[in-house]
Every structure is written in C-alpha cells, then in structure tokens.
C-alpha cells in the first residue's frame, strides 16, 4: 500500500516537472500535453499505433529471449543459461511472442486499417477499444515485471499442470503468467467484440459483405474466433488461479483433479489462437499481392469461403496437440482427419495468391518482397502441419524440435512476415510517411535468409531425437552441427530487425510526407489523405463494387463519390477512465500474484468505481463542423 502511494506521488511530481511546475494552470497544461492526448485517446488510428508499437516493443524483448536461448544451445553442454533460467526464457519467449507481440501487432493493423477499409469513421465502441488496449498493455507489463519481482514463469507458454501447480512451482512465476494473461485476455476479448460489431454495423453505403476487402474479411473471422476462443482460456486460467491462490484442486491428481482438463481447455483456446494470428496475415498478403500485381484478387469468393471454413475447422482440431496424451486411437483418428481437412482451404488460398500474380505486373517493393517470401515459407509450414496431423508419425514429432520448426514456419514465416509486409504497406496511413524501401529490402533479405537458416535445420534436429524445451544436449549424438547452424541463422534475423528499427527511427525523423495513394491502391484507405484526419472521411464514400477505389480510378474519377452531404461530424470524447480501469486490473492482478488479497480488493474496487463513474457520465461527444473540415483540407492542399 505504501509503495503504491509513493509511486502515485512520484508520478504526479514527474507530470508536474514535465509540464513546467505545479500551479493553477497545471491541470490545463496536463490536459493539453501530448502524453495526456495519447493516454486518453479513443481514436482507432492512435490506438492502433499504440497497439502496434507496444507489440513491436514486446517483439524485441521476446526476440532477445530467443537469442539467449540460441546462445545457450550453440554448443553441447553449454552453461550460459541452464536449468530453471532457460525454462524461464523459453516460457517468456513463447508467451510474449504469442500474446504480447503477434496479437497486439495484428490488433494494431486491424485497428488502423479495418475501419478505413469499410469506410467507417471509427470502430463501433471507441471507449471499449481504448480499454482493450490498456488492459493488454497492463497485462503485458505485469507479466514482464516477473523478471524483476520474484521470478518469471517457467512451465512453458502452455503452462501444463502439475508442473504449474503450487506443489511443484511455489514461486510467483506462474501467478504472473495467470494474471498477466487474464488481464491482457480481457483486452483481446473486447477487441474481438468491437471489431465484429464494427464490421457488421458500420460499413459505408454500398459496402456489402461480398465487397469487403480481404483483410477486412479475415479480421472479421479472426474476431469471431476471438469471441469463442478466449472464454475457454479465461476459464482455464481462472481454475489454475484458484488451484494456486485458494487451494482448490481442479488440476491436482493427488486430490482427484486432472491435469488433462487443463490441456483440453488450453488447446480449445490454443488452436483457434493459431488461426487468430494467421488469418489476418492471410488478409494482409491478399491485399499486398493484389495491389503490387495490379490485379484483382483471383477467386475472391472462394478466398472468403476458405477463410470461413478455416475459422470453423480451427475449433475442431485441438486434440492434435494431445495425440500422445493417450486418449485412444478413435479420438486420435477423428482429430487427425479433421486436421488434414484444414489443408484443403489453405491450399485454395495459396493457389489463389499464385493466380492473382499470374498475368499481373509484379512490382517488387518491400511489402511485395515479404509477400513473395511468405508463399514458399508458409507452404513449408503448412505441409509439415499436415505431416503432424498423422498421429503415429506425431508420436515421433511431438514435443521435438520438429514441432518447433513447424510452428515457427507458420508463426514467423506466416504472421511475422505478414506483419512486416503490413507495416511497410500501411506505414503511410499510420504515420503519414513512407518507410525507406532500400533499407526495407536489406531488412527482408537478412531476415529471410537468417530465418530459414535458423529454423530449417530444426526439422532434422527433431527427427534426430532432440526434444524441445531442453537447455542442453549431449555431445556425440549427431546434434551439434545443426544446432550450431541454427544459432548462426539467428544472427541474420537480429540484423534484419535492427535495420527495421533504424528504418523506423529514420522515417520518424524525416520530413518527407507520403502521398495519399503511394502504391496505386485498390481499397478505400487509399482514398483519404496520409496521415488520415481524425474523422477519416469528410463525407462517407459510396462503394460501387469490390476494389472500390480502383473502380473509381479506372473510371477516371478523382476520388470516391460521396454518400452523404458535407455536415458536422460527431466524434467521441477522449477519456482517462480506460487507463484508470486497467490500472485497477493491474493492481488487482499484482495483489493476487503476491497473494495479498487486500491489495487485490483495492484494485477491483478501482475497477468498479471506474465503471460506476463511466456509467453515470453524461458524455455526448463533440462535433467537428464542416467549415473546419473544409479548412483543414484546403490547408493540406496549400502545403502540398
């Protein structure tokens, strides 16, 4: 409690110093500061940027953890990070990359791009959007504070009991995992609901479902997956928390519980989670490939259909993570065939991408390079996925480096490649500037080559008998040279990422503004200025078909036809409540981690008081008048 007060006072002092001292104008100055603006914003673009940048920050942390692991494994019987330390690294690497890097970066891009693509002025619930971001942020912060206060979790990103139970893991690490994920999970669920409501309700006139850009479609299916996949995780985490904090025995076999129940709950969430992070990647690739081939997406309707089928089947296959649990040949066979079936719609997508490029005019700008690198890489991850679906073969692959290779081919070769493609592609819409193309190409080639050098040998390491999650291996069993190769490959990925970071900094410093439509784009986001004004569209656009903006350009029109007269635009007001509410969740989470229930109660009280305040707040938002819109548009033209 004392610590809390000290921190609060310190924060106030810092704010006072940064804004130039405390006097009666203090609050005014705080309210007009940039920091306050970002803390309280409900603008989907700013929230998207915060999602993307904090996701990227966590990507760097998770990457550093991976580098440490590859350093340890570079030679047999190395003693750099052994035993428990290595287990902490592998746990935090996996958890960070999935929950704090991949998902937030995807949410970031969806947040910025999806409303623009459907011609909306914001998401359906801007307040909820901000709350979702801050819940994720504080959850991630809580999880990573474990490194400093009490020790990081060490039972793997899957955190299987009994290893994750109090009896075998008395430190606070697993509590950090449980509470950190629970809090950031609240954010993910909110985002899912929000995106669904936005896509269903806020499409501009003419934007029917079958005219929606592919990225919006994949965001839509991903959001539906979030809606159904997050609750099992929430339940699982809650049961694990009760086992650890309050002494229940859901997963403790000594008291009649079952550790297998956790595996079911985790993978009923965990498998759809894979599609949550890969479907938007498919969407990004579809947009990039279509734009840089100067061609309409081949087989659009079957692409949509394939996306929906993948999303649906994603819920039917979780047992393929549990083939060796001993559930019997019947359930193994059923889930094997269901898993193989996913290969079919995924194949449809790959062939449609290839035939989108067929006959097109391929411009190899950086986003397109990532997309072109993605196709063979992802196909390799996909075919090993089908191989893993064969239960008897999986008895060999399971929990070996083969699996490590497979899911890195899908998650890095799929999701991370797509995130980089999306970053280069939509950077102008996010920041109003173009990332440097030459540095981008360096980034791509170094990362691409390093990536394959790192992960391709790991298939063989697995088949040669190396289990995953081991901090060392013995000399003389044929594992040395491939491990060495794999560690060397990591250098390429590190260099690539450093170049990307330099590119980001260089672009932020440059004064050169991007045009509204730098790539000859096809969808609505390219019809508005870069960076996008806070109201997105001065007048909502009228959509006449798929690739709406391209159609207008081909018809020789200057821009989109308006679907409404110029009028005052209603905007939601910024709010500090999401930050306070998430801070409450953070305090409550920390209370449970420290097994200090009074602190947890205070945190929960903060959450409920914030809810109460919000519920009784008379907030009607504000309007931007037409004169202001026209004025700013003219100012832009004069500048240009």
């Amino acid at each position: 409690m004392g610590t809390l007060l000290v921190v609060l006072v310190l924060a106030l002092f810092l704010a006072a110093i940064l804004t130039g001292g405390y006097n009666k104008d203090f609050l005014e100055r705080v309210r007009h500061s940039k920091v306050w603006d970002w803390l309280t914003t409900v603008d989907h673009k700013k929230i998207g940027i915060m999602y993307f940048m904090s996701g990227f920050f966590f990507l760097l942390i998770g990457g550093l953890e991976a580098v440490f692991m590859r350093l340890q494994l570079i030679v047999p019987n190395n003693d750099l990070f052994t035993g428990d330390t290595f287990n902490k690294l592998l746990t935090m690497h996996g958890t960070t990359m999935i929950f704090l890097a991949a998902m937030p970066m995807i949410f970031g891009i969806i947040n910025v791009v999806m409303p623009l693509q459907i011609g909306a002025r914001d998401v359906a619930f801007p307040f909820l959007n901000s709350l979702g971001f801050w819940a994720f942020f504080f959850g991630g912060l809580l999880l990573n504070l474990s490194w400093i206060f009490g020790g990081a979790p060490n039972a793997g990103w899957t955190s299987y009991p009994s290893l994750a139970l109090m009896g075998f893991n008395p430190g606070p690490g697993i509590d950090y995992y449980v509470l950190g994920l629970q809090i950031s999970g609240i954010g993910s669920l909110m985002s899912g609901i929000n995106f669904l409501a936005t896509i269903i309700n806020m499409r501009t006139p003419g934007m029917t479902f079958l005219r929606m850009p592919m990225f919006t479609w994949t965001s839509f299916v991903t959001s539906a997956l979030l809606l159904f996949a997050m609750p099992p995780l929430t339940v699982g985490l809650l049961l694990l928390m009760f086992d650890r904090v309050f002494g229940s025995a859901f997963f403790d076999p000594a008291l009649g519980g079952s550790p297998v129940i956790w595996q079911h709950l985790f993978w009923i969430f965990g498998h759809p989670e894979v599609y949550i992070v890969i479907l938007p990647a498919f969407g990004i690739m579809s947009e990039v490939i279509s734009t840089f081939s100067k061609k309409r997406l081949f087989g659009y309707t079957s692409m949509v259909f394939a996306t929906v089928v993948i999303g649906f089947l994603g819920f039917m296959v979780w047992v393929h993570h549990m083939f060796t649990v001993g559930l019997g040949p019947m359930s193994n066979s059923i889930f094997a065939v269901a898993t193989m079936a996913i290969g079919v719609p995924t194949g449809i997508k790959v062939f449609n991408w290839l035939f989108t490029m067929w006959g097109g005019e391929l411009h190899f700008k950086t986003p397109m390079l990532w997309a072109v690198g993605f196709i063979p890489t992802f196909v390799m991850g996909g075919v090993t996925g089908v191989m893993l679906a064969v239960p008897p073969a999986d008895f060999q692959y399971h929990d070996s480096y083969f699996v490590v290779a497979h899911f890195h081919y899908v998650l890095v070769g799929g999701t991370v490649f797509a995130l980089f493609a999306g970053a280069y592609y939509w950077w102008p819409k996010m920041f109003g500037k173009l990332l440097d193309d030459r540095l981008g190409k360096w980034h791509f080639w170094l990362f691409f080559i390093g990536y394959h050098l790192t992960f391709f040998p790991q298939h063989f390491l697995g088949l040669f008998g190396m289990p995953r999650r081991v901090f060392t291996y013995q000399a003389g069993y044929g594992l040395e040279s491939l491990n060495m190769l794999s560690s060397i490959g990591a250098v390429g990925m590190v260099l690539g990422t450093i170049i990307f970071t330099i590119n980001v900094i260089k672009t932020a410093r440059s004064k050169e503004l991007a045009p509204a439509d730098p790539w000859d784009g096809r969808t609505l986001e390219w019809s508005v200025p870069s960076p996008v004004p806070e109201y997105n569209f001065a007048q909502l656009p009228l959509v006449r078909g798929y690739d709406a903006f391209w159609i207008e350009k081909q018809a020789g029109n200057k821009g989109m036809a308006p679907a409404e007269p110029l009028g005052p635009i209603h905007m939601p007001s910024p709010s500090y409540i999401p930050v306070i509410m998430s801070l409450g969740l953070f305090i409550a989470g920390y209370g449970f981690v420290a097994h200090a229930i009074p602190v947890a109660v205070i945190g929960i009280a903060v959450v409920f008081i914030s809810m109460f305040v919000r519920s009784f707040q008379q907030d009607f938002g504000y309007h931007i008048e037409p004169e202001e819109i026209v004025g700013s548009a003219k100012a832009k033209e004069v500048k240009a």
């Binding site: 061609k295 659009y300 060796t324 005019e361 063989f460």
Partner: protein, 336 residues
C-alpha cells in the same frame, strides 16, 4: 520416354532426400533409422507424408517461380493487367486434388493409429513393464520377467524381437517417455495409466528422452534402452534377481553408510521423496542417467547433485570423510 526421364528425375530427388534424412543423426537416437517395428511403421507414414508433401511443394514452387519470373515488372513497359475475377474450374481442381492426396494419406494413418493404439498383450506371459516417470529419472518395474518381479531405474533392458508392453505411470509432474530409435512416445500423466508397446529388431543401445517439459532438469532426464538376445536377457534377469553380497571390508563399510544415509529415499518401497533403486547400481552404464559411469562422476554427483542435474531433489552428500566416501562409492560401483 520423356515421362520415364521425368520419373527418374523425380525419384532421384526423393532418393537424395531420403539419403539426407538418414545420413546424419546418431543411430541410437535417430527416428529416421528405426530399429523397432513401431518405429518402422511410424517412419513409413513419415516418408509417405513427406513424399506427398514434397509433390505439393514442388507444384507450388513450379508455378511460383514461373510467375515471379514471367510477370515481374519490366523496365520501360507499363501496362494495366486484365482484371480477372477467377475461375470456377480452377477452384474445383485445386480443391479436389488435395482432397484426393489427403485421402491417400488418411487411410494408412487411421490403420496405423489403431495398430499402435492397441497395447494390451494377447498372451498372459508377454513381457510387461511398469514405467514410472519422476523428476528427473525413470523407474522400470518388471512385472513378469521370466516369472520374476523386480525394479530397476534409468536403464530399460528388453529382449530382441519380442513385443514389450509398457504401462506408464506418473507420480509428480507430466513427463513423456520417448525412445526415438524404437518408436514414438507416450505421455506420463499422474492420475492416468497409459500403455504402449515397443520392440527392438537388433541388439544394441538406444537413447531415451523425456519429451515433456518437467522442470529444471528436463533436458537431462535421459535413460537408456538395451536390447539383448533372449539368452543374454535371461542372464540379466537372473543377475537382477540375485541379491548382491558385499565381500570386501570397504564394501561392507560402504553398505553400512548406504543404509544409514541413503536408504530413506533409495528404498524399494515408495517413500515421500523417492530416489532410484540402487541395489544393482554396479550394472548401470551411467551416472544420473547421462554421465559416463566412473568414480570421478559418481563423486561429483554425490557431493553436489544440483550442479550436475539442475533441480535434482537429492541432497548433497558432502558430510562424509574421504574414507567413508570411498567405501560408499566402492559399495555402489560393485553392487552387481
């Protein structure tokens, strides 16, 4: 003629891949050079799926390379490509062909799954072994080896050419029992009994691994499988079931020290903290499951187990004087 040429080219690619796959790795640990029936069946499926998938990958790559070479933007030429919507026929083709390929894979998959899944012995005198995983070591209890019942640890001995039926128990956290060169793995789950069968077609030493993250010492939770000809196996069983009698003075002294200091964990019964049965320690080939067996390693292990295997639950035996330590080690090394 062309097709035959093409076929031979494809086959040579496959042969190259097979060579690459089998060429590296160590035969004691390599899932690609199986020495048991289960492993062979699994490898058959692995190879079948690799071939089908290589075919798919080759088709995709052929189209891919053609497309990015043929349709890249050329300098000085600018054109607006025809905006094609798609092709129903093409969609049907690349839906139907993968379905057929997957069906080809699915049939043997289901067959082998059921074959490997039935791990109940048909005859009563089949060799049954109870495997128990502990942090971080393995216990093997022979239930009816030549009519005898006994326990050992870290080293599983089996007769060549006979199916061995394993009942897999867990006592603390999850583990996974894996012998890559003989065939696949099965999870160790407290509160659940799993079964699997194994056999070895050739005598030899095979390396076993724990494949499920089980704590700090997970990476070192190794064990060995030794496959013997039936006669050698019978000899081994006889040796294991004949109690060891210390002969020298030092050994007798060592036995006394062992009984005073070690027996509370290393007993045949199930105490609270359980260590491996050491009554036949002299027959083992390793210390702690992975270090070569010699006095130096044994002393290192006894004096500080944690430094050898992180998370090991054995306390440090660093309070004995040199003479006592020597006697204890002599007793252990000779208890055959």
């Amino acid at each position: 003629m062309v097709s035959r040429q093409h076929l031979s080219r494809v086959l040579s690619v496959f042969a190259l891949v097979a060579f690459l796959l089998a060429g590296c790795g160590d035969p004691r640990l390599n899932a690609l050079q199986p020495k048991g029936t289960a492993g062979e069946q699994q490898l058959d499926l692995i190879m079948l799926s690799i071939y089908i998938m290589l075919f798919v990958f080759a088709v995709v790559m052929a189209i891919f390379i053609y497309v990015i070479v043929r349709f890249r933007k050329r300098k000085g030429v600018s054109r607006t490509p025809k905006q094609v919507h798609g092709s129903t026929l093409a969609e049907i083709v690349w839906t139907a062909i993968p379905i057929i390929l997957l069906a080809i894979l699915a049939v043997p998959t289901v067959k082998t799954t059921f074959n490997l899944g039935s791990a109940q012995p048909k005859s009563a005198d089949a060799l049954k072994i109870k495997v128990t995983g502990y942090q971080y070591w393995w216990e093997f209890e022979y239930l009816n080896a030549n009519g005898k019942r006994f326990k050992t640890a870290q080293e599983l001995h089996i007769p060549v050419g006979k199916k061995v039926y394993l009942e897999i128990y867990g006592k603390d956290v999850l583990h996974s029992f894996w012998v890559p060169a003989l065939g696949g793995k099965m999870d160790v789950i407290p509160g659940k009994v799993n079964t699997m069968w194994l056999d070895a077609k050739k005598p030899g030493e095979y390396q076993g691994k724990c494949a499920e993250l089980c704590g700090a010492g997970h990476a070192l939770m190794d064990f060995k499988v030794y496959a013997h000809e039936q006669a050698d196996f019978d000899k081994w069983v006889a040796q294991m079931t004949t109690p060891h009698k210390p002969t020298t003075v030092a050994e007798k002294e060592g036995e006394k020290i062992f009984k005073q200091n070690c027996l509370s964990c290393h007993a045949t019964a199930d105490p609270k903290i359980k260590g491996p049965d050491l009554s036949k320690f002299g027959t083992r080939h390793t210390i702690a499951g992975f270090l070569p067996k010699n006095e130096k390693n044994l002393e290192k292990w006894l004096k500080d187990p944690e430094s050898v295997k992180p998370g090991a639950r054995m306390p440090k035996i660093n309070y004995l004087n040199d003479q006592e330590m020597k006697s204890l080690m002599e007793y252990l090394m000779n208890s055959k």
